[in-house]
């Protein structure tokens, strides 16, 4: 499978600039293939921007970056119509959202109003400016970062908006060896400049269609629903995953299966992605949160406890 190999190359490219973060690279590509967006939750300075830029370069995509600040306005994101004296008319100056791959940095630093401007664009794949609906470029992929909630001066994203993101990923610091390698590479030419495009946007669009054709057997669908249901029944979770969350998990699993060169989804794909898809779609009981158990851990527990189907439904 030619496309499959190319996608692996994309991941390798990202790995070039983000040493030891293959997992995050893979997840980004999964989200890209599934037509979803990624929320990176982490402290600044671990290489998020680098990663997104590497991804953009690899697919030959237009890269935009929005640094969210408390005073950022929706028009700063979407764009603004400005009166052009020469032409005697308002001309739309597109905002940074009008790109293929958008890095929305520190999304929880800005006001909910601005946040929702971005999130609406993500959901609808279009924005409304001065009564006109403008389609966003295709592909349109947002990678948003947010500081951990405990940091001061943040506006936490509402749950309903969080589920606009297909995956929520925690990046973490690189390992010791990896960080040494980071330093070694930083001495030379920045690796980002060496990255060559692997696939074109046209090819990417094509691959996305193919990825959506990966089959999900009824057995696996049942397994996804079992997992979602377990989050609803768990006493530690106040609000479990909605059916939209189940759909998201299925979409992501399809993309992962495609990335692995399979044309059907395995429970392994589902298991692997469940924490990234589910953790930001649930509300934990407060006492659980005080105990320091986070949502990823809870999802992990649910995954280890939920029975993986090993026979077709209806057979003994």
């Amino acid at each position: 499978m030619e496309e499959h190999r190319k996608l692996l190359k994309v991941i390798e490219n990202i790995e070039e600039v983000m040493i030891g973060k293959r997992e995050v690279a893979e997840l980004s590509v999964v989200a890209l293939l599934a037509g979803g967006h990624v929320l990176l939750e982490d402290v600044p300075g671990v290489g998020k921007t680098m990663m997104v830029r590497a991804l953009a370069r690899s697919v030959g995509a237009d890269f935009k970056r929005i640094q969210f600040t408390p005073d950022l306005l929706p028009s700063d994101v979407i764009g603004v119509s400005i009166y052009h004296p020469k032409e005697m008319e308002f001309q739309f100056r597109p905002g940074p959202i009008m790109g293929n791959i958008v890095l929305a940095d520190e999304i929880n630093r800005t006001s909910p109003k601005t946040q929702s401007a971005l999130l609406e664009g993500m959901e609808e794949a279009s924005v409304t400016v001065d009564g006109r609906t403008l389609a966003l470029p295709d592909p349109f992929f947002v990678m948003a970062t947010q500081n951990p909630i405990e940091h001061e001066g943040t506006y936490p994203l509402p749950e309903a908006q969080l589920d606009r993101f297909l995956l929520k990923v925690k990046m973490g610091y690189p390992g010791r060896e990896d960080e040494v390698e980071v330093l070694r590479r930083a001495e030379n030419q920045p690796p980002i400049d060496r990255i060559e495009p692997v696939i074109t946007l046209d090819e990417l669009r094509d691959i996305r269609i193919r990825a959506a054709e990966v089959s999900v057997g009824d057995t696996v669908k049942g397994y996804i629903v079992d997992l979602a249901e377990s989050t609803r029944k768990s006493p530690d979770i106040r609000l479990g995953v909605s059916p939209r969350g189940s759909i998201a998990l299925m979409r992501a699993a399809r993309a992962l299966a495609f990335l692995k060169g399979r044309d059907y989804v395995l429970p392994d794909d589902v298991q692997h992605l469940a924490p990234y898809v589910f953790s930001h779609r649930m509300i934990l009981q407060p006492e659980v949160r005080y105990e320091g158990i986070d949502a990823e851990e809870l999802v992990d527990r649910i995954v280890t406890r939920t029975k993986v189907p090993v026979r077709r439904a209806g057979t003994r």
Binding site: T219, R262, L266, V303, T304, V308, R311, R312, T315
Partner: protein, 725 residues
């Protein structure tokens, strides 16, 4: 001392205790069933444990056990010394013979050597089971619990007294539990305990158990919180009576019959041996007065009349034929001041100078030497067994009965409950002849739930009528109950009847020119009934279930004149006589197939129990050893199957089951491919991964066909074979 030696010592200690427990099982078995050679059985069990302890290979332990078993069987059952060659041929011959019996289902004829072989096999399997419990589970609690239950049940319900056994079992059992617990503790440690640690662990245990046992010996012991449940259960089963505390009497011929009833136990003492042409009842005397509790004779003083030439002992029949004159020769072991004689006896003959006088009332014949009653060791009686004319019997209508002559044989006590009279009328009301009435009463006991039993017999309460209690309350008893009740019922129905004492035919022990030889023991002491048939004479009847009766009917009628029942009786009487089991309740005539099947089962219960035990143990063994054979069966079956989608799913599920048994269970939350990696890491190779990939494409990918079917089959077989434990 090496680690291995310490481990072995520990295990050996456990095994010794287990063998001691097994001995507690064997003890009551040998005591209750009369099996001998307890020590040899224990040695066999010991052998079964010693070989595995030292890791002896099967080719060593198997033959040694086999040789021991052959020697054992030959030693226990062969006459004379057991030389090797003759022992083997003896055991082999016996096995072959019994194999034939097994095939034909004649369990009753299985020989004792074969039973010993079966029992040894059972012991071998039991010791294997116990080893399984110990080696794999380190748990003897089940075995220990079963031992305690077994012994306590035996102690409660059988003559076996477990007073000492229970103490031994408790001490041994506590030690066993302690040791196995220590073994389990040691298993949990990374480092196995050495000799010092071993002693440190075991010595306190030994001291503690011994001290507790010793102290308990001297502590005051309170009475049981519950009374002994057996009497209660018995009274429940028998439906009452106050005679529960009454001691069981011994069977035998006694003079005093004024208090009938109560349980008795068997006695094999030989009373006399007789040589005669046919087996028959041996009559001594009759009694005529029923007292509600037993029998006496109406006249205290008996007129003594000489018998012999000119005056036969038994009056000849008024109608009927005889079976031909014969002389019965008797040699008597017990000191009886009377003679026993067959029906139709005419002339007794004893040593020179012996005179025989007969009591006119009871009919008892007493030998006199020098005008004093004497005890004869040997005598003979000439007799001619009568056959009663059916023609005459069918004419015995009540109006033919001479009036006023039989008052003493129609006597009934004043307190006889009305329901006995009612029952007599109910049974006999439809019969027109006295003979018909007598047969109806005789048959009544065979069809109305009466049970022959010598041991569990309740006596009637004070003031209760013996007959009434048997007929309506207990329905359980022996000959005295049946015969007395029949006499009372006959008298109630207006048929003159009297109660007869004597012996039944006994056991045939051989034949000679002089005739068949019968051995009559105290167990053969018996009572039956005589009823007076007008125009015929006194005729014996046998109401007791399981007995043949004395005398026969001369079927001097044409067949088509006879009733169905009479025809049936004729056919039965025409059958060759069979030596009847002494006093044992044989199958009642005319009863259903099931009854006789039940009796056969009861007769062969020991063989059946052993057989069932062997079967159950074999099944359990097969189940416990399934890891050894099941995979092979599965592979053989798998080879024949087509590997379609369903077949593949089933095969994969079986494999998961086998792996779980093997000790590699798949956790619920684990995916198949993760599990496959784990399995492959355990076994080495990539079989499970290859198989699982194919399975995933079928299960999750919805493929119908299986790629590389041959490789998949091979992988499956490889994996199944690896699970053979």
């Amino acid at each position: 001392m090496s680690q291995k030696a310490v481990d072995r010592m520990f295990l050996g200690l456990i095994y010794v205790l287990v063998v001691l427990l097994v001995r507690e099982w064997l003890l009551p078995i040998t005591e209750l069933t009369g099996t001998g050679h307890l020590a040899l059985f224990v040695i066999f069990v010991g052998l079964c444990f010693v070989f595995p302890l030292f890791g002896a290979p099967w080719w060593l332990s198997g033959p040694v056990k086999l040789i021991y078993a052959v020697w054992f069987v030959a030693h226990a059952h062969m006459d004379g010394t057991a030389a090797p060659v003759s022992s083997v041929s003896f055991v082999l011959g016996d096995l072959l013979q019994n194999a034939g019996l097994l095939v034909t289902g004649e369990l009753g004829r299985i020989t004792d050597p074969f039973r010993t072989v079966l029992f040894l096999a059972l012991l071998w399997m039991a010791s294997y089971l116990i080893q399984y419990w110990i080696n794999l589970k380190m748990s003897v609690l089940i075995f220990y619990g079963m031992t305690v239950i077994f012994i306590t049940v035996l102690d409660t319900f059988s003559p076996y007294s477990a007073d000492e056994a229970i103490i031994r079992i408790l001490v041994v059992g506590f030690l066993l539990l302690g040791f196995t617990f220590l073994a389990k503790l040691a298993d949990g440690q990374r480092k196995r305990p050495g000799l010092p640690a071993f002693l440190l662990m075991t010595i306190p245990l030994l001291v503690l158990v011994t001290a507790a046992g010793a102290v308990s010996q001297f502590l005051p012991k309170s009475d049981p919180a519950w009374p002994d449940p057996v009497p209660f259960i018995k009274s429940f089963a028998e439906g009452a009576g106050d005679g529960l505390g009454r001691d069981a009497g011994k069977i035998g011929y006694g003079e005093d019959d004024s208090m009938l009833g109560g349980p008795f136990i068997g006695d094999n003492t030989v009373v006399f041996e007789a040589t005669a042409e046919r087996g028959q009842y041996w009559k001594v005397e009759t009694k005529d007065t029923y007292t509600s509790r037993g029998w006496i004779h109406s006249s205290e003083e008996q007129e003594l009349l000489p018998v012999g030439e000119g005056r036969p002992i038994d009056e000849p029949l008024l109608a009927g034929t005889t079976r031909g004159e014969d002389t019965a020769t008797l040699s008597v072991q017990l000191d009886f001041e009377f003679i026993v004689r067959p029906y139709g006896a005419s002339t007794p003959a004893g040593p020179e100078g012996t005179e025989f006088l007969q009591e006119s009332g009871t009919g008892k014949v007493i030998p006199f030497v020098n005008n004093a009653p004497a005890v004869l060791d040997a005598y003979s009686v000439t007799y001619d067994e009568p056959a009663y004319s059916l023609t005459a019997l069918r004419n015995t209508t009540p109006d033919t009965l001479p009036q006023g002559e039989f008052g003493q044989y129609l006597q009934l006590p004043d307190g006889l409950p009305q329901r006995v009279h009612d029952l007599a009328l109910e049974i006999t009301g439809r019969e027109e002849t006295l003979y018909g009435k007598a047969r109806a009463v005789e048959q009544y006991f065979r069809q109305n739930g009466f049970v022959y039993d010598q041991a569990n017999v309740a006596s009637p309460g004070t003031g209760e009528d013996f007959t009434d209690h048997f007929l309506f309350e207990s329905k359980r008893g022996y000959c005295d109950h049946f015969s007395t009740s029949m006499v009372v019922l006959l008298r109630s129905a207006g048929v003159p009847a009297r109660w007869v004492k004597g012996f039944n035919e006994g056991e045939e022990i051989g034949r000679s020119d002089a005739g068949r030889q019968f051995e009559v023991t105290n167990n053969n002491a018996h009572s039956w009934v005589e009823a007076y048939m007008p125009g015929v004479g006194w005729m014996p009847f046998e109401p007791t279930i399981g007995f043949d009766g004395a005398g026969g009917v001369d079927y001097d009628l044409d067949l088509d004149e006879m009733t169905e029942q009479e025809t049936q009786e004729m056919e039965e009487s025409a059958k060759p006589e069979e030596a009847e089991e002494e006093e044992a309740p044989a199958a009642a005539k005319g009863d259903s197939f099931w009854k006789s099947l039940g009796d056969r089962i009861a007769e062969n219960s020991r063989a059946i129990y052993i057989g069932l035990g062997v079967l159950a143990a074999a099944a359990l063994l097969a189940f416990l050893l399934r890891d050894k054979w099941l995979p092979r069966v599965m592979v053989a079956r798998f080879r024949k199957r087509t590997l379609d989608r369903e077949g593949f799913e089933r095969a994969y599920a079986r494999l998961l089951g086998r792996l779980r048994r093997y000790g590699l269970p798949k956790e619920d939350g684990k995916t198949l491919s993760a599990y496959a990696r784990e399995v492959d890491a355990h076994f080495g190779g990539t079989d499970m991964r290859r198989l699982t990939e194919a399975y995933e494409s079928v299960l999750y990918g919805g493929r119908d066909g299986i790629r590389e079917e041959q490789a998949v089959r091979e992988s499956w077989e490889n994996l199944i074979n690896r699970t053979i434990g």
